[in-house]
């Protein structure tokens, strides 16, 4: 099976029913995407499929062939971190950090569809991403900062 992950085509041999999460982690060694629950309840495994945020723990790899998969590893480029990552760093969001790949992927997808979300819209869009360390106040702040950085960038 061929997948396109972070812009590169890769061949994988996992069984068709293997969740994308474990293909990424165990076969492709892209371990930035995390396992938290395995049943689409925590968001730690969030990646983008054709730009949409999905839960890779409940997405069989057979369903994603020929689609564009983006993971946390694909967010930064040679030029540096993505605006959402920069906002996260600036706001000092992470504590243990384990949920943050998923949070950043969820926030990135949110901002792509809604460049200037309100608190309520952020809450609604990111309610599926659990943070056991309780970094929620800073997540809200960081999403707003990322939004303003992106609009600054677009108008620059």
């Amino acid at each position: 099976m061929r997948l396109t992950v972070n812009g590169s085509e890769v061949e994988v041999s996992s069984e068709a029913d293997t969740p994308l999460l474990w293909v990424l982690r165990d076969e492709l060694k892209l371990v930035g995407t995390k396992y938290g629950c395995g049943i689409a309840q925590c968001g730690a495994c969030t990646v983008h499929l054709d730009g949409r945020a999905i839960r890779s723990c409940v997405t069989p790899v057979s369903a994603v062939a020929d689609k564009q998969i983006q993971t946390i590893e694909g967010q930064a480029t040679e030029a540096g971190l993505s605006p959402v990552q920069l906002a996260w760093l600036e706001t000092d969001v992470a504590q243990c950090g384990y949920c943050q790949s998923g949070q950043i992927m969820a926030a990135t997808a949110l901002l792509a569809s809604n460049p200037n979300p309100s608190d309520a819209e952020i809450d609604a869009a990111m309610a599926g991403n659990v943070c056991r360390c309780g970094t929620y106040p800073r997540i809200r702040k960081a999403v707003h900062l990322a939004a303003s950085l992106m609009s600054e960038e677009h108008s620059a």
Partner: protein, 734 residues
């Protein structure tokens, strides 16, 4: 949905330059994963500092990083005295040898919110001593008096001559003159601090946004096998026999074998191991806990609470005062019941073990290295020094990774025995929720009275629950006359045993009794803020009941009760002002207060709630005031307060493990709900300025939140909750 901007769609460099606010990000240090492998052949200046010829400075960290900010504060302390940027320091987890044991615990343990306080002098001293050696080296090499030299940014300089050398370059001079560490060294006066006391972003922050931070679950070793364990349906059960025919026929499956924890399937990927595990046919012996139920725990504990317990504290004559008050209708009685709670760290337990001959190496996210080493050495019958522990970052811990049983560690070792390759055991979320290690269920029975002025006059509390320390190696320090004083922390008025603080309140007649409930069904385990998770609710909610009985405002009551405790009194006075206490609220809204001391730091919170007719409620605002002594990293403290109260709020709102017929009923986040973004209140944090030595902050904010919310719900509705979680009583946090 529109396409997300791809990572290359804008120029990050321009972006960074244009955003003046992004100074930190623009200067981001190399990520931790790369730092860990930096250096290696330099000189150990002392136990904590190595300097390499290429001027890489490496800190050996003897406290674990699980979100607590240990690596940040420790690198700040070292950097302050060594005059380097804390973000330029490389870091390695220190090995499990005596020199790295905590001076406080005399173990290699990160717990009890003591990291900042217990490393404040040692890490600064390590930095200052290394600096002294470097200064001496430059002084002798250049034949200049040391007081003409300065250090800055990893360099020794002489202003007048313009000479300068990096620390790395001076290593050769240190060797040449055989310069030894000084016996003593002067530390900077706080007025000279450039780093300490200033807000600092997380040391390992970059790796935590770019996905490179390495947690235990992420480690891949050559040839490593993944293991999934089928565990008994009842904690403590065991395997009678099993049939793995079907499992072994599945792709990638290498082996299935019985270990003490259950049956482990080894495979070449975790998913394959998990999938094959589901095909095992196992005959279980359900063991001694078959039939245990949490409802029975409540019933048994309530019955025990009606009988006299071991006497922990008896100030004045509480029983006499209560009898006298009875006739005057000044007595209140209540029983508070707190359920079992799972920790539910987002990174589930995992451990890699490699057993080779009489040595064992593990890669494990752990709070408790020395214990892991002891347990493994006992289990394998090998010397302790033959057990090597590599400690990666942890995806949360909250006490779970300090297991005295080292359960998830030693089972990995057992699974790896007889294998030629390393074995990684990963727990599923279901195993995590059903693991059997919980904040123990507690029942507190309280009787109290108020005097003529309405102030608390007598207090009688009986605490019943399974002991954390009984029968463990901590028995000698924490079991006093048979009582687990760790489990009583937060309800004793006076300092007791190893706890140098009481409640901060003064009630003239104060009696506390304790029962150790029979040990069964579960493993009692520390849960962020430990005893306060139940003593805090019982104490602060019942105090609210006494305030109501006496007709005194609950915050005013606490101000009066703490008039002899200057630090808590100051916290409460600030809280009163910052929280707009007393300002009228709309119908359906309420305010609650609670104040606690955990590991010396006083902390108090006021919570505002809005409650709907159907019991749905939101926590709109939390104002938290605390005194943690000198705040080494105010930004980190604020984060710990937000996170700590979120953890406690989720626990009190819906945290609940039920055991029926020995089996845990919950299994994952759908039936063991945890805090989510929409439920998170607005939080205001006020850190009181202080020159006192730094004290704890990691668990402090967890202590008042639960009772403060319950008290706010009472204030809004007139309804007291005495059995938790709140969701079991019709109050649903939305």
């Amino acid at each position: 949905m529109s396409e997300i901007p791809t990572a290359g769609s804008m120029s990050r460099r321009r972006f960074v330059q244009s955003g003046g606010a992004l100074l930190f990000a623009a200067q981001c240090p190399i990520s931790l994963s790369r730092k860990v492998h930096a250096g290696g052949n330099g000189a150990m200046m002392n136990s904590f500092v190595r300097i390499d010829p290429n001027n890489v400075i490496t800190m050996l960290a003897n406290n674990s990083e699980f979100g607590n900010g240990a690596y940040t504060v420790m690198s700040m302390m070292l950097a302050e005295e060594l005059d380097v940027d804390y973000r330029s320091i490389a870091l390695e987890a220190a090995p499990t040898t005596l020199e790295y044991y905590s001076p406080l615990f005399r173990e290699y343990l990160t717990a009890g919110s003591v990291t900042t306080g217990s490393t404040f002098i040692p890490m600064r001293t390590a930095g200052a001593k290394a600096r002294a050696m470097l200064l001496e080296a430059a002084s002798r090499d250049w034949q200049l008096p040391p007081d003409e030299l300065a250090t800055e940014n990893g360099t020794v300089t002489h202003a007048a001559s313009g000479r300068s050398s990096t620390y790395g370059e001076l290593l050769e001079v240190i060797h040449r003159f055989d310069i030894q560490p000084p016996e003593t060294v002067a530390l900077k006066d706080p007025s000279q601090f450039k780093i300490l006391g200033k807000p600092a972003r997380r040391y390992e922050g970059v790796g935590k946004v770019d996905g490179t931070a390495q947690f235990g679950i992420d480690i891949k070793l050559p040839g490593m096998l993944y293991g999934a364990i089928a565990r008994p349906p009842v904690y403590g059960g065991s395997v009678i026999d099993f049939d793995a025919t079907e499992a072994l026929a599945m792709p990638g499956v290498v082996k299935a074998k019985a270990i003490r924890a259950g049956v482990v399937v080894l495979a070449d990927s975790y998913w394959r191991a998990q999938k094959a595990r589901a095909k095992l046919k196992i005959n279980w012996d359900r063991g001694v806990n078959d039939g245990v139920s949490s409802e029975q725990f409540y019933a048994d504990y309530r019955a025990l609470a009606d009988t006299p317990g071991m006497l922990a504290e008896d100030i004045g004559d509480a029983l006499g005062a209560l009898d006298a008050a009875e006739a005057k209708d000044r007595v209140v009685e209540a029983t508070y019941e707190m359920p079992l709670l799972a920790h539910a760290t987002l990174e589930p337990m995992n451990c890699i073990a490699h057993v080779e001959g009489d040595t064992c190496t593990i890669w494990s996210g752990t709070q408790y290295q020395s214990n892991d080493q002891e347990v493994i050495s006992r289990f394998l019958g090998i010397p302790q020094q033959n057990v090597t522990i590599h400690r990666p970052l942890m995806g949360g811990s909250f006490g779970r990774r300090s297991s005295k049983k080292a359960d998830y560690t030693v089972e990995a070792v057992e699974a790896a025995m007889g294998e030629s390759v390393p074995v990684q055991i990963i727990w599923s979320r279901e195993e995590d929720i059903r693991s059997g290690h919980y904040r123990p269920l507690f029942v507190h029975k309280l009787r109290g009275s108020v005097d003529e002025a309405g102030m608390p006059e007598a207090w009688h509390q009986v605490a019943v629950g399974q002991s954390l320390m009984q029968g463990t190696k901590h028995d000698p320090a924490y079991m006093v006359r048979g009582m687990d004083i760790y489990s009583l922390d937060g309800c004793l008025q006076e300092p007791f045993g190893v706890f140098p603080y009481g409640t901060s309140y003064q009630i003239p007649n104060h009696r506390v009794e304790s029962h150790n409930a029979p040990k069964k069904g579960i493993v009692p385990q520390e849960w962020r803020s430990v005893a306060h998770t139940h003593t805090g609710i019982a104490y602060e909610c019942f105090l609210d009941e006494l305030a109501e009985k006496g007709g005194i405002d609950p915050l005013e009551l606490r101000l009066r009760l703490t008039k002899d405790h200057a630090r808590m009194n100051r916290v409460l006075n600030v809280l009163k002002e910052k929280s707009d206490w007393g300002k009228p609220l709309a119908p359906g809204r309420g305010r609650g207060v609670a104040s606690r001391i955990y590991n010396i730091s006083p902390v108090a919170q006021v919570v505002e709630v809005t409650v709907a007719e159907n019991g749905d409620f939101s926590v709109d605002r939390v104002v938290c005031v605390l005194d943690c002594g000198f705040a080494v990293n105010p930004l980190g403290v604020e984060g710990q307060v937000e996170g700590g109260l979120a953890y406690g709020l989720g626990g009190v709102a819906f945290g609940n493990i039920d055991i029926v017929n020995g089996e845990v009923q919950q299994s994952n986040f759908h039936d063991y709900p945890v805090m989510r973004l929409p439920q998170m209140p607005k939080v205001e944090v006020y850190i009181l300025p202080s020159d006192e030595p730094p004290t704890g902050i990691g668990e402090q904010a967890t202590t008042p939140i639960a009772p403060a919310v319950a008290n706010a719900l009472f204030n809004a509705t007139g309804r007291r909750v005495r059995r938790f979680p709140l969701s079991s009583q019709g109050f649903n946090l939305v």
